[in-house]
């Protein structure tokens, strides 16, 4: 939107805020329809997300997942590739983390395990993205179709492994054994304890910091390296990029490997951080939500952090909301989330023109005021 007539801060800050306001206004109508005071509901939501330490922990725990998958989508999207296989890549990444932890948790503490699990999650996630990438680059199969199909393959593979190989005898739930305590990533309350602070127990853990680090790395990659330039060039115009000497096929593979690796890192938070065991369905839609996060975050690592926190608030505050108001069930929370996605993602351009006009109007008024003041 470089050619728009409005200043950059408006399109980066004001527009998303207006979009979200619209979403909440429509949510308010729904709340009114079920006899819930929307202002009370908003208070409960904000309080639930930021009002107490445990709530804050949960908000950032959810945000960690969204940062990873949001970044994964963003990297691929910068190259014009729509990777919607984050779900499966994260799932298989979790398998990598789980296998490492199950194999080595008796012998190594978490800080020695962490490099291995990080590598495993990234390698497994990247490998899961490699096949669709190869098919796109060399066979022309559309990446949207192949990545979404790989989500199903990942799901089936995990069920097979969890039910037949990794589960414990006599255990009803298809889950692996719980890792040794020493192998799990330290929770944020533990980390705070090291520095003499007190923080209530919550699932938020070290991987949040890893997620933030990944944001910086992705930013460096996309905007400060030759690869990043090539990626963005291919995203803007594949044919021009190829004419400019960029090896398109190789780049598709590289981009998808990075994207898959970022998705795979999600499992650090879920498997080694929170659950400390391998179980079915731990990705729980975070991969798909990553697409929305990336859209709302405007494809920029910093925007993705903000959008992830927004979704963290929606998840955690929403849970609080449905807990405190019997009239609001979890499907309605999903409606609120969907409205945010609709207004910030799908309809994000709807309000550009009106806002532009408003600013042009305000600008002219200011100018005319200035001239009239000068004349006087």
């Amino acid at each position: 939107m470089n050619d728009s007539k409005i200043p950059a801060w408006v399109s980066i800050i004001v527009l998303p805020l207006i979009n979200i306001l619209f979403a909440f206004a429509f949510s308010a109508i729904i709340f009114l329809a079920v006899d819930v005071n929307p202002i009370e509901a908003a208070q409960t939501m904000i309080n639930g997300a930021f009002g107490y330490q445990e709530g804050i922990g949960y908000t950032f725990y959810y945000a960690t997942n969204f940062i990873f998958t949001g970044l994964a989508v963003a990297v691929a999207f910068s190259a014009g590739l729509f990777n919607i296989g984050g779900e499966g890549q994260a799932y298989i990444g979790g398998l990598g983390v789980g296998l490492v932890c199950l194999g080595l948790d008796h012998t190594l503490p978490f800080w020695a395990l962490l490099p291995i699990t990080m590598f495993a999650s990234m390698a497994f996630g990247a490998l899961w993205a490699l096949i669709p990438a190869y098919l796109q680059a060399y066979r022309g199969s559309h990446i949207v179709i192949t990545t979404i199909m790989f989500n199903f393959i990942a799901s089936s593979l995990m069920v097979y492994l969890m039910v037949n190989v990794l589960n414990q005898k006599g255990q009803m739930a298809p889950v692996s054994r719980v890792f040794e305590d020493s192998a799990g990533l330290p929770g944020f309350h533990t980390i705070a304890g090291w520095f003499g602070y007190c923080f209530a127990e919550s699932p938020m853990n070290l991987s949040f910091l890893i997620a933030l680090l990944c944001c910086v790395l992705v930013w460096l990659l996309l905007w400060r390296t030759r690869w990043g330039y090539a990626i963005r060039a291919m995203g803007s115009s594949p044919s021009a990029a190829e004419y400019g000497g960029i090896n398109r096929k190789r780049l598709i593979i590289i981009v998808m490997l990075i994207s898959g690796a970022l998705s795979g890192l999600l499992s650090l938070n879920e498997v080694q951080g929170y659950a400390q065991q391998l179980k079915l369905g731990f990705v729980a839609g975070y991969g798909f939500t990553g697409i929305a996060v990336c859209l709302i975050g405007r494809n920029h690592p910093f925007g993705i952090v903000l959008a992830s926190i927004l979704f963290g608030i929606l998840y955690q505050g929403g849970a609080e909301l449905s807990f405190d108001f019997p009239n609001i069930d979890r499907e309605m929370i999903q409606v609120v989330q969907a409205l945010v996605v609709l207004f910030s993602g799908a309809l994000s351009l709807m309000l550009v023109k009106p806002t532009e006009r408003l600013f042009v109007y305000l600008d002219e008024k200011k100018k005319s005021n200035n001239t009239s003041a000068a004349e006087a």
């Binding site: 009803m172 739930a173 065991q277 079915l280 369905g281 849970a319 807990f323 979890r330």
Partner: protein, 334 residues
Amino acid sequence: MKKILTTTAAAVSIALCSFVAQAADFKPAVAYDSTGKFDKSFGQAVAENGVIKFMEQSDTKVRELVPSSDAQREQGLERLARKGFSPILVVGFLYATPLQKIAAKYPDSQFVIIDAVVDLPNVKSILFKEHEGSFLVGAMAAMKSETNKVGFVGGMDISLIRKFACGYEQGAKYVNKDAEVFQNMTGSTNAAWSDPARGAELAKSQFSKGADVVFAAAGGTGVGVYQAAADEGKYAIGVDSNQNYIHPGVMLTSMVKRVGVATVDAFKAAEAGTFTAGIQSLGLKENGVDWALDEYNRDLVTPEMEGKIAGIKAKIISGEIKVHDYMIDNTCNY
């Protein structure tokens, strides 16, 4: 001075970190599985035959919770416990890990878990011997079958459903050693519990191979299985709740799992102050599982069949027939 300050700060922070568990008054709550309480199967059986019935009988409001993700399971349980709810009944084996943590943290609250074992002094674990009920309906299927071929359609391919399948197979083979049992699972994701179209496809493929009775242990997917049986003039067997009414004349019977009764009993015991922890395993003997006979399938069950089934049931109860439980060794060798 500085030392005093730091010690006070430490003491305050410890006080802030700790929490006070409230004493156990009777404030019942129920936490459903993430499939919700309108899943036409397990959750609904707890809700309609358990929670609603208990609320009618005792005038006590039961707090309900439906989580939408795994993290919310633990979070919701913790919140219920912190607000002083007790007993808290949790539905489904996916709660086993979170309950392990929360029940240990709130030793004064009482918990009941259905379909899993949590070995703590304040948790009552209720299990159902699905293999016994499945054995009975398997035997019935084999008696009714004219082709000596019967089918099984499972939901998601997990141990619990294999337990159903294994019991069913044993029952069918007990009646007729040469009986063939076709088994299909609907899928490997949670969607497998609510895919009637695929259920119908699987049932039809089993019918085309010659099966004429099919048992569905597949949640909402079963509806499609029953429809396929009705369309092709075959027989079907329902699961969890009594589903005979869905297609009278087609539904041979239903393998009922009396979760509602167990729910009401658990709440009543807690209300009367006679809550006991430990494992409760409900089979045919305890009336926890059974086969359903009502006006909708009366005509399908001949008195001769009824007599035979009663005989088999008595033998299982007395221990003369041992039904192998898949979960014990994760195999179906019996």
